[in-house]
Symmetry: C2
Subunit: 206 residues, 2 copies
Protein backbone atom coordinates (compact mmCIF):
# COMPACT_ATOMS: atom_id res chain seq x y z
CA UNK A 1 0.00 0.00 0.00
CA UNK A 2 2.85 2.27 0.81
CA UNK A 3 5.03 1.24 -2.05
CA UNK A 4 3.93 2.43 -5.40
CA UNK A 5 2.28 5.81 -5.42
CA UNK A 6 4.72 7.72 -3.25
CA UNK A 7 8.34 8.60 -3.61
CA UNK A 8 11.02 7.14 -1.39
CA UNK A 9 11.27 10.35 0.61
CA UNK A 10 7.53 10.50 1.17
CA UNK A 11 7.34 6.89 2.21
CA UNK A 12 10.17 7.39 4.70
CA UNK A 13 8.47 10.47 6.17
CA UNK A 14 5.19 8.62 6.53
CA UNK A 15 6.71 5.57 8.13
CA UNK A 16 8.88 7.68 10.42
CA UNK A 17 5.85 9.65 11.56
CA UNK A 18 3.98 6.48 12.45
CA UNK A 19 6.89 4.91 14.27
CA UNK A 20 7.96 8.07 16.10
CA UNK A 21 4.40 8.39 17.35
CA UNK A 22 4.35 4.81 18.54
CA UNK A 23 7.89 4.33 19.82
CA UNK A 24 9.38 7.77 20.25
CA UNK A 25 12.35 9.34 18.51
CA UNK A 26 14.93 7.30 20.38
CA UNK A 27 12.77 4.21 20.43
CA UNK A 28 12.14 3.96 16.69
CA UNK A 29 15.16 2.75 14.75
CA UNK A 30 16.01 3.56 11.16
CA UNK A 31 15.85 -0.13 10.43
CA UNK A 32 12.25 -0.21 11.56
CA UNK A 33 11.47 2.96 9.62
CA UNK A 34 13.01 1.81 6.37
CA UNK A 35 11.45 -1.65 6.68
CA UNK A 36 8.00 -0.10 7.20
CA UNK A 37 8.57 2.26 4.28
CA UNK A 38 9.80 -0.64 2.16
CA UNK A 39 13.01 1.14 1.22
CA UNK A 40 16.66 0.39 1.75
CA UNK A 41 18.25 1.20 5.09
CA UNK A 42 20.72 3.62 3.55
CA UNK A 43 17.93 5.66 1.98
CA UNK A 44 17.42 7.74 5.13
CA UNK A 45 20.99 8.93 5.23
CA UNK A 46 21.01 9.41 1.48
CA UNK A 47 17.86 11.56 1.34
CA UNK A 48 17.91 13.23 4.76
CA UNK A 49 21.53 13.11 5.87
CA UNK A 50 20.84 11.87 9.38
CA UNK A 51 18.15 10.64 11.71
CA UNK A 52 18.12 14.03 13.45
CA UNK A 53 17.35 15.77 10.20
CA UNK A 54 14.66 13.26 9.34
CA UNK A 55 12.92 14.19 12.60
CA UNK A 56 12.96 17.87 11.66
CA UNK A 57 11.51 17.15 8.26
CA UNK A 58 8.70 15.12 9.80
CA UNK A 59 7.73 18.27 11.70
CA UNK A 60 8.16 20.72 8.88
CA UNK A 61 5.95 18.77 6.54
CA UNK A 62 2.91 19.18 8.80
CA UNK A 63 3.45 22.38 10.73
CA UNK A 64 3.44 24.81 7.84
CA UNK A 65 0.02 23.64 6.80
CA UNK A 66 -1.46 23.60 10.31
CA UNK A 67 -0.08 27.06 10.91
CA UNK A 68 -1.68 28.48 7.80
CA UNK A 69 -5.02 26.81 8.45
CA UNK A 70 -5.23 28.24 11.96
CA UNK A 71 -4.61 31.79 10.80
CA UNK A 72 -7.08 31.37 7.97
CA UNK A 73 -9.72 30.01 10.34
CA UNK A 74 -9.11 32.93 12.68
CA UNK A 75 -9.55 35.42 9.88
CA UNK A 76 -12.85 33.84 8.93
CA UNK A 77 -14.04 33.73 12.53
CA UNK A 78 -13.30 37.42 12.95
CA UNK A 79 -15.32 38.26 9.84
CA UNK A 80 -18.50 36.98 11.46
CA UNK A 81 -20.95 39.53 12.87
CA UNK A 82 -20.28 38.78 16.54
CA UNK A 83 -17.55 36.19 17.01
CA UNK A 84 -17.49 34.76 20.51
CA UNK A 85 -14.88 32.83 22.46
CA UNK A 86 -16.11 29.54 21.10
CA UNK A 87 -15.51 30.77 17.55
CA UNK A 88 -11.94 31.75 18.37
CA UNK A 89 -11.29 28.50 20.18
CA UNK A 90 -12.70 26.64 17.22
CA UNK A 91 -10.30 28.45 14.91
CA UNK A 92 -7.45 27.27 17.09
CA UNK A 93 -8.63 23.77 17.84
CA UNK A 94 -10.41 22.63 14.69
CA UNK A 95 -7.42 22.80 12.35
CA UNK A 96 -5.59 20.57 14.82
CA UNK A 97 -8.62 18.31 14.84
CA UNK A 98 -8.67 18.24 11.04
CA UNK A 99 -5.02 17.39 10.99
CA UNK A 100 -5.53 14.58 13.46
CA UNK A 101 -8.26 13.18 11.23
CA UNK A 102 -6.28 13.61 8.05
CA UNK A 103 -5.94 10.47 6.07
CA UNK A 104 -2.29 9.64 5.68
CA UNK A 105 -0.91 9.99 9.15
CA UNK A 106 -2.09 13.26 10.67
CA UNK A 107 -3.37 11.35 13.66
CA UNK A 108 0.10 9.99 14.21
CA UNK A 109 1.60 13.42 13.82
CA UNK A 110 -0.30 14.99 16.70
CA UNK A 111 1.09 12.27 18.91
CA UNK A 112 4.55 13.03 17.60
CA UNK A 113 3.94 16.66 18.46
CA UNK A 114 2.91 15.75 22.00
CA UNK A 115 6.07 13.72 22.35
CA UNK A 116 8.09 16.69 21.25
CA UNK A 117 6.56 18.72 24.07
CA UNK A 118 7.38 16.00 26.56
CA UNK A 119 10.93 15.76 25.26
CA UNK A 120 11.53 19.32 26.35
CA UNK A 121 14.07 19.58 23.56
CA UNK A 122 15.41 23.13 23.39
CA UNK A 123 16.28 23.07 19.72
CA UNK A 124 12.82 21.84 18.86
CA UNK A 125 11.18 24.44 21.13
CA UNK A 126 13.04 27.18 19.39
CA UNK A 127 11.95 25.79 16.04
CA UNK A 128 8.33 25.76 17.18
CA UNK A 129 8.55 29.20 18.75
CA UNK A 130 10.21 30.71 15.68
CA UNK A 131 7.63 29.23 13.35
CA UNK A 132 4.55 29.50 15.54
CA UNK A 133 5.13 32.47 17.81
CA UNK A 134 3.31 34.93 15.58
CA UNK A 135 0.29 32.67 15.44
CA UNK A 136 0.00 32.58 19.21
CA UNK A 137 0.39 36.38 19.35
CA UNK A 138 -2.38 36.77 16.82
CA UNK A 139 -4.73 34.55 18.81
CA UNK A 140 -3.80 36.25 22.05
CA UNK A 141 -4.80 39.61 20.64
CA UNK A 142 -8.11 38.26 19.42
CA UNK A 143 -8.90 36.71 22.78
CA UNK A 144 -7.82 39.84 24.65
CA UNK A 145 -10.30 41.90 22.67
CA UNK A 146 -13.12 39.58 23.70
CA UNK A 147 -11.99 39.42 27.34
CA UNK A 148 -11.38 43.10 28.15
CA UNK A 149 -11.72 42.63 31.91
CA UNK A 150 -9.11 39.91 32.03
CA UNK A 151 -5.59 40.83 33.10
CA UNK A 152 -3.14 40.39 30.25
CA UNK A 153 -0.89 38.04 32.17
CA UNK A 154 -3.85 36.08 33.41
CA UNK A 155 -4.89 35.56 29.81
CA UNK A 156 -1.44 34.22 28.96
CA UNK A 157 -1.76 31.69 31.76
CA UNK A 158 -5.15 30.56 30.59
CA UNK A 159 -4.20 30.25 26.94
CA UNK A 160 -1.23 28.20 28.04
CA UNK A 161 -3.59 25.88 29.86
CA UNK A 162 -5.79 25.64 26.78
CA UNK A 163 -2.79 24.72 24.65
CA UNK A 164 -1.85 22.05 27.17
CA UNK A 165 -5.30 20.57 27.29
CA UNK A 166 -5.47 20.61 23.49
CA UNK A 167 -2.15 18.85 23.11
CA UNK A 168 -3.25 16.30 25.65
CA UNK A 169 -6.64 15.72 24.07
CA UNK A 170 -5.47 15.57 20.46
CA UNK A 171 -2.70 13.16 21.30
CA UNK A 172 -5.26 10.95 22.98
CA UNK A 173 -3.32 10.86 26.23
CA UNK A 174 -6.45 10.58 28.24
CA UNK A 175 -8.00 7.56 29.82
CA UNK A 176 -11.26 7.95 27.91
CA UNK A 177 -11.53 5.20 25.35
CA UNK A 178 -13.49 5.29 22.18
CA UNK A 179 -16.62 3.23 22.53
CA UNK A 180 -17.54 0.56 20.06
CA UNK A 181 -19.90 1.98 17.48
CA UNK A 182 -18.26 5.39 17.62
CA UNK A 183 -15.95 6.15 14.74
CA UNK A 184 -12.55 7.64 15.25
CA UNK A 185 -13.83 10.82 13.63
CA UNK A 186 -16.83 11.05 15.95
CA UNK A 187 -14.60 10.45 18.95
CA UNK A 188 -12.26 13.24 17.94
CA UNK A 189 -15.09 15.62 17.18
CA UNK A 190 -16.62 14.95 20.55
CA UNK A 191 -13.22 15.57 22.11
CA UNK A 192 -13.05 18.93 20.41
CA UNK A 193 -16.58 19.87 21.49
CA UNK A 194 -15.88 19.07 25.11
CA UNK A 195 -12.59 20.84 24.95
CA UNK A 196 -14.05 23.99 23.43
CA UNK A 197 -16.87 24.16 25.95
CA UNK A 198 -14.52 23.54 28.84
CA UNK A 199 -11.94 26.03 27.62
CA UNK A 200 -14.49 28.76 26.93
CA UNK A 201 -15.82 28.47 30.48
CA UNK A 202 -12.28 28.42 31.85
CA UNK A 203 -11.37 31.56 29.96
CA UNK A 204 -14.48 33.31 31.24
CA UNK A 205 -13.71 32.40 34.87
CA UNK A 206 -14.03 35.39 37.21
Amino acid sequence: MNSQHFSTKERILGAAEQLFARLGFAGASLRQVTAAANVNLAAVNYHFGSKENLINEVFRRRLDELNAHRLQALEEALKRPAPDLEDLLGAFINPALDLSLDRGGGGAFVRVLARAYAEHNDALRKFLSDNYGHVMKRFHAAFAQRLPDLDKEELYWRLDIVAGALTYAMADFGVIKRKTGVTEQQHRERSAEHLIRFAAAGLRAP
Copy 2:
Protein backbone atom coordinates in the same frame (compact mmCIF):
# COMPACT_ATOMS: atom_id res chain seq x y z
CA MET B 1 26.83 13.88 47.06
CA ASN B 2 24.95 10.85 45.91
CA SER B 3 27.31 8.28 47.24
CA GLN B 4 27.34 7.83 50.95
CA HIS B 5 24.04 8.45 52.63
CA PHE B 6 21.81 6.40 50.37
CA SER B 7 21.68 2.74 49.52
CA THR B 8 22.54 1.42 46.10
CA LYS B 9 18.87 0.91 45.26
CA GLU B 10 17.97 4.44 46.29
CA ARG B 11 20.84 5.95 44.36
CA ILE B 12 19.82 4.03 41.24
CA LEU B 13 16.20 5.16 41.59
CA GLY B 14 17.26 8.78 42.01
CA ALA B 15 19.64 8.77 39.07
CA ALA B 16 17.14 6.91 36.88
CA GLU B 17 14.46 9.47 37.69
CA GLN B 18 16.69 12.36 36.68
CA LEU B 19 17.86 10.72 33.48
CA PHE B 20 14.45 9.43 32.44
CA ALA B 21 13.12 12.97 32.87
CA ARG B 22 15.90 14.41 30.74
CA LEU B 23 16.38 11.72 28.10
CA GLY B 24 13.31 9.51 28.17
CA PHE B 25 13.03 5.84 28.96
CA ALA B 26 14.55 4.63 25.74
CA GLY B 27 17.01 7.51 25.62
CA ALA B 28 18.60 6.96 29.02
CA SER B 29 20.84 3.91 29.13
CA LEU B 30 21.60 1.78 32.16
CA ARG B 31 25.24 2.71 31.73
CA GLN B 32 24.35 6.38 32.15
CA VAL B 33 22.12 5.61 35.10
CA THR B 34 24.66 3.50 36.95
CA ALA B 35 27.44 5.98 36.24
CA ALA B 36 25.35 8.85 37.64
CA ALA B 37 24.41 6.75 40.67
CA ASN B 38 28.05 5.77 41.12
CA VAL B 39 27.27 2.07 41.22
CA ASN B 40 28.25 -0.88 39.10
CA LEU B 41 26.44 -1.53 35.83
CA ALA B 42 25.21 -4.93 36.95
CA ALA B 43 23.55 -3.43 40.03
CA VAL B 44 20.38 -2.55 38.12
CA ASN B 45 19.74 -6.09 37.01
CA TYR B 46 20.76 -7.42 40.41
CA HIS B 47 18.42 -5.18 42.40
CA PHE B 48 15.59 -4.62 39.93
CA GLY B 49 15.79 -7.55 37.52
CA SER B 50 15.45 -5.47 34.35
CA LYS B 51 15.27 -1.95 33.00
CA GLU B 52 11.54 -2.34 32.54
CA ASN B 53 11.14 -3.15 36.20
CA LEU B 54 13.37 -0.27 37.22
CA ILE B 55 11.01 2.06 35.36
CA ASN B 56 8.05 0.67 37.28
CA GLU B 57 9.82 1.12 40.59
CA VAL B 58 10.64 4.73 39.74
CA PHE B 59 6.91 5.28 39.44
CA ARG B 60 5.92 3.27 42.47
CA ARG B 61 8.27 5.14 44.77
CA ARG B 62 6.55 8.47 44.11
CA LEU B 63 3.01 7.54 43.20
CA ASP B 64 2.28 5.60 46.38
CA GLU B 65 2.99 8.74 48.33
CA LEU B 66 1.31 11.13 45.91
CA ASN B 67 -1.92 9.20 45.83
CA ALA B 68 -1.97 8.66 49.57
CA HIS B 69 -1.60 12.42 49.97
CA ARG B 70 -4.37 13.02 47.48
CA LEU B 71 -6.80 10.73 49.25
CA GLN B 72 -5.87 12.27 52.58
CA ALA B 73 -6.36 15.78 51.23
CA LEU B 74 -9.70 14.71 49.78
CA GLU B 75 -10.82 13.32 53.12
CA GLU B 76 -9.94 16.59 54.82
CA ALA B 77 -11.65 18.64 52.15
CA LEU B 78 -14.83 16.62 52.52
CA LYS B 79 -14.82 17.21 56.28
CA ARG B 80 -15.22 20.93 55.79
CA PRO B 81 -18.68 22.42 56.29
CA ALA B 82 -19.37 23.14 52.62
CA PRO B 83 -16.58 21.90 50.37
CA ASP B 84 -16.76 23.38 46.89
CA LEU B 85 -15.17 22.39 43.59
CA GLU B 86 -12.09 24.43 44.33
CA ASP B 87 -11.52 22.43 47.51
CA LEU B 88 -11.73 19.15 45.64
CA LEU B 89 -9.49 20.39 42.86
CA GLY B 90 -7.02 21.57 45.47
CA ALA B 91 -6.98 18.11 47.02
CA PHE B 92 -6.11 16.68 43.62
CA ILE B 93 -3.71 19.34 42.40
CA ASN B 94 -1.86 20.50 45.50
CA PRO B 95 -0.23 17.17 46.37
CA ALA B 96 1.13 17.08 42.84
CA LEU B 97 2.37 20.62 43.33
CA ASP B 98 4.04 19.63 46.59
CA LEU B 99 5.68 16.70 44.89
CA SER B 100 7.00 18.88 42.11
CA LEU B 101 8.55 21.16 44.72
CA ASP B 102 9.97 18.30 46.74
CA ARG B 103 13.66 18.51 47.31
CA GLY B 104 15.31 15.36 46.00
CA GLY B 105 13.89 14.92 42.56
CA GLY B 106 10.13 15.40 42.72
CA GLY B 107 10.46 18.04 40.03
CA ALA B 108 12.12 15.50 37.79
CA PHE B 109 9.46 12.96 38.55
CA VAL B 110 6.57 15.04 37.27
CA ARG B 111 8.41 15.31 33.97
CA VAL B 112 8.85 11.54 33.98
CA LEU B 113 5.14 11.23 34.53
CA ALA B 114 4.42 13.51 31.60
CA ARG B 115 6.69 11.38 29.44
CA ALA B 116 4.81 8.31 30.51
CA TYR B 117 1.60 9.85 29.22
CA ALA B 118 3.26 10.73 25.94
CA GLU B 119 4.74 7.27 25.57
CA HIS B 120 1.28 5.77 25.47
CA ASN B 121 2.88 2.58 26.77
CA ASP B 122 0.20 -0.05 27.35
CA ALA B 123 2.08 -1.96 30.02
CA LEU B 124 2.73 1.23 31.95
CA ARG B 125 -0.89 2.35 31.58
CA LYS B 126 -2.06 -0.92 33.00
CA PHE B 127 0.36 -0.54 35.88
CA LEU B 128 -0.93 2.95 36.62
CA SER B 129 -4.55 1.93 36.22
CA ASP B 130 -4.14 -1.19 38.39
CA ASN B 131 -2.34 0.60 41.18
CA TYR B 132 -4.01 3.97 41.23
CA GLY B 133 -7.36 3.63 39.48
CA HIS B 134 -9.22 3.61 42.77
CA VAL B 135 -7.99 7.13 43.52
CA MET B 136 -9.50 8.48 40.33
CA LYS B 137 -12.76 6.68 41.10
CA ARG B 138 -12.85 8.28 44.54
CA PHE B 139 -12.36 11.76 43.14
CA HIS B 140 -14.87 11.15 40.39
CA ALA B 141 -17.51 10.27 43.00
CA ALA B 142 -16.74 13.39 45.02
CA PHE B 143 -17.00 15.62 41.96
CA ALA B 144 -20.17 13.90 40.80
CA GLN B 145 -21.83 14.67 44.10
CA ARG B 146 -21.04 18.36 43.70
CA LEU B 147 -22.08 18.46 40.05
CA PRO B 148 -25.42 16.63 40.15
CA ASP B 149 -26.68 18.17 36.91
CA LEU B 150 -23.65 17.04 34.94
CA ASP B 151 -23.94 13.91 32.85
CA LYS B 152 -21.71 11.16 34.18
CA GLU B 153 -19.86 10.71 30.93
CA GLU B 154 -19.49 14.44 30.52
CA LEU B 155 -17.81 14.55 33.91
CA TYR B 156 -15.37 11.87 32.83
CA TRP B 157 -14.44 13.95 29.84
CA ARG B 158 -13.90 17.05 31.92
CA LEU B 159 -11.84 15.33 34.59
CA ASP B 160 -9.73 13.88 31.84
CA ILE B 161 -9.11 17.40 30.56
CA VAL B 162 -8.20 18.56 34.06
CA ALA B 163 -5.70 15.72 34.42
CA GLY B 164 -4.21 16.66 31.08
CA ALA B 165 -3.89 20.32 31.93
CA LEU B 166 -2.37 19.41 35.30
CA THR B 167 0.17 17.08 33.75
CA TYR B 168 1.05 19.74 31.23
CA ALA B 169 1.37 22.48 33.80
CA MET B 170 3.33 20.48 36.35
CA ALA B 171 5.78 19.21 33.78
CA ASP B 172 6.40 22.80 32.72
CA PHE B 173 5.51 22.13 29.11
CA GLY B 174 4.07 25.56 28.73
CA VAL B 175 5.56 28.61 27.17
CA ILE B 176 5.14 30.77 30.28
CA LYS B 177 8.52 31.35 31.79
CA ARG B 178 9.27 32.12 35.39
CA LYS B 179 10.04 35.78 35.80
CA THR B 180 13.17 36.96 37.56
CA GLY B 181 12.41 37.69 41.18
CA VAL B 182 9.81 34.94 41.33
CA THR B 183 10.97 31.79 43.07
CA GLU B 184 10.36 28.38 41.64
CA GLN B 185 7.93 27.76 44.48
CA GLN B 186 5.97 30.94 43.82
CA HIS B 187 5.85 30.12 40.13
CA ARG B 188 4.46 26.66 40.82
CA GLU B 189 1.95 27.97 43.33
CA ARG B 190 0.73 30.54 40.89
CA SER B 191 0.44 27.79 38.29
CA ALA B 192 -1.75 25.81 40.67
CA GLU B 193 -3.95 28.80 41.46
CA HIS B 194 -4.58 29.54 37.82
CA LEU B 195 -5.16 25.92 37.09
CA ILE B 196 -7.68 25.49 39.91
CA ARG B 197 -9.62 28.59 38.95
CA PHE B 198 -9.66 27.60 35.30
CA ALA B 199 -10.60 23.99 36.00
CA ALA B 200 -13.39 24.92 38.41
CA ALA B 201 -14.97 27.17 35.81
CA GLY B 202 -14.52 24.50 33.16
CA LEU B 203 -16.21 21.88 35.31
CA ARG B 204 -19.12 24.24 35.96
CA ALA B 205 -19.61 24.95 32.25
CA PRO B 206 -23.26 24.60 31.17
